[in-house]
């Protein structure tokens, strides 16, 4: 059990008043809030060690390099992956674009197939559309059953075939909360000689993640959804694949030796991290990882699971409220999308905001999925380790008030 009262004290923003009411922050799938330790790590870096890394010999540069590489070590350990195969990027989107540019452009050829699902975030869709168009490849999509919120498993073998070169799937849907059978899909991909990419933006922040217990070729996630700052993301890759890959960006800090006509690239991870990186962001992510480990990812998961169960019960009592995604809490994470009568999600968001309740309304960067669900947009409440049952009660109450404003019961 988490001591949520104690945890909440570590997050200054949770003490804010919005429209005179206590903030109820339920937009964690968009970004999480940051504890004091993360904010201090960034501040400390700029106040005490700011300097460019990997270059100069002076003390500050050494300290900055230690901050950056220390954060890589912590992050790699957190997800049980090799340090040198843990690449820092800006965010999940950049991690996926890195794979698309540096692996995809080299390895995808005319007539190849790329398999995704209908529930992907635009960041795990748009890059592959570009790749397919550029290389003359085909995109195929595993369908989502609108009723259960799950991918149709009977399609796996039909759609992932010998023609498939890359399969990229989200671990957990940012709209439905669905946890996908990614090990099974990765196995089928590998049986067919394809590589498997995991969009772990929603899962790594919420569950224990042990990279060595799975067989994924690439794993992408962001720091900012796991208590870290914005502007730092991660790409995990299999070492041999990363070594074979072309660089993503070219320039400083990714070289071993440069002549006027040619360049010898650095080894990984340096080869894939051109230019001055986000050192303060890495330091912040390192502090976030420390914070999560202090709490324990198993505890984070069980807290979010029980809160999700409570929220699903509480919301299903509300008249004219439709819940999307799996009913079974074992198959879903703490992302809850719903609609309330004919109230548009943006109107609902405005009304909830009056009570300090922060939710997201819209298509959640997954427009094709909202189409599958047969809606134009949904409202989404997403939970994290600092949320409480009382906040869920406030959400439910504010939703009932919104029903009144829109006169849904008349």
């Amino acid at each position: 059990m988490l001591d949520v009262t104690k945890i909440r004290k570590d997050f200054p923003i949770l003490g804010r008043k919005i429209n005179g009411k206590s903030l109820v922050y339920l937009d964690n799938a968009a970004t999480s809030q940051k504890p004091v330790s993360v904010i201090s790590a960034i501040k400390n870096y700029y106040e005490k060690s700011n300097s460019n890394i990997h270059r100069s010999i002076h003390t500050l540069s050494q300290e900055a390099t230690e901050s950056y590489e220390g954060a890589r070590k912590k992050t790699a350990k957190h997800v049980n992956w090799e340090e040198e195969a843990t690449i820092f990027t800006r965010n999940t989107t950049e991690s996926l674009n890195l794979v698309m540019r540096a692996w995809g452009m080299k390895n995808i050829r005319k007539g190849d197939e790329i398999v995704l699902t209908e529930m992907e975030h635009h960041s795990n869709l748009v890059p592959w559309q570009f790749l397919a168009k550029s290389r003359g490849a085909q995109l195929k999509f595993l369908s989502v059953d609108a009723k259960t919120g799950k991918i149709k498993t009977d399609e796996f073998h039909n759609k992932i075939t010998g023609k498939t070169k890359l399969v990229s799937v989200c671990h957990m849907s940012n709209v439905l909360g669905t946890i996908n059978p990614v090990d099974e899909i990765a196995n089928i991909a590998h049986e067919n000689g394809a590589i498997f990419v995991l969009d772990a933006a929603q899962s790594v922040p919420h569950f224990p993640f042990n990279g060595k217990q799975h067989d994924f070729d690439f794993v992408a996630f962001s720091g900012h959804k796991m208590l870290g700052p914005m502007g730092i993301g991660v790409l995990l890759g299999k070492k041999d694949i990363l070594e074979e890959m072309d660089p993503f960006l070219f320039g400083g800090d990714m070289i071993a030796r440069v002549e006027l006509e040619k360049t010898e690239y650095d080894t990984i991870p340096g080869k894939l991290e051109a230019g001055t990186p986000n050192v303060a962001g890495a330091a912040g992510l390192g502090a976030a990882v420390d914070y999560l480990n202090k709490i324990g990812m198993g505890n984070v998961k069980s807290h979010c699971d029980s809160l999700t169960k409570y929220a699903l019960e509480k919301l299903s009592e509300i008249n004219q409220l439709t819940l999307y995604g799996p009913k079974d809490t074992k198959m879903r994470g703490s992302v809850i999308s719903f609609s309330l009568g004919d109230v548009h999600p943006h109107d609902l968001s405005t009304l909830l905001d009056r009570d300090g309740v922060a939710v997201r309304g819209g298509h959640h960067c997954a427009m094709p999925l909202t189409k599958v669900l047969g809606v134009t947009a949904t409202t989404r409440a997403s939970l994290y380790l600092y949320n409480t049952k009382e906040e869920i009660d406030q959400l439910a109450l504010s939703l009932k008030k919104a029903s009144e404003v829109f006169k849904l019961d008349r």
Binding site: T350, G362, T376, A377, K400, E404, V405, F406
Partner: protein, 151 residues
Amino acid sequence: MTQKPSHDTGKGQGVNFQDPLYRENILDHYRHPRNFGRIENPTVTFHGDNPICGDEIDIALQLDKNKITDAKFIGRGCAISQASASMLMETLPGKTMEQASGISKDNIMEMLGVDVNATRLKCAILPLKVLEGALFLHKKENEHKLKKRNG
């Protein structure tokens, strides 16, 4: 959290929560949009959307020379965008092209009669943007026709 769990069921208890934005007239236009539908053989049509929330508006205008004789819209989206479209369409018939072009953001705000914050402003003025698009398109088409005739 200091909020106590509430046992208020919040419905059917005669409580009518009023909201400064979602006033009676806005909800009325949202639920019963005026000038909603299609025009057979319209003079000009135009589509616009707001990708952030997925609001969509299609408008159709019937013009007799320089005068708008009919204006209709089809749309889906939030109450603010749909009510704004409904109110705007209602005022158009009888206006000249110039008069319609002169409708400003402030006029829309006056029609709605509410204060809209920056994030919702896009919803409120989407119908106006679509109208401006339609008027611009019509003007271009007219110029094109004139050129053809004269050339």
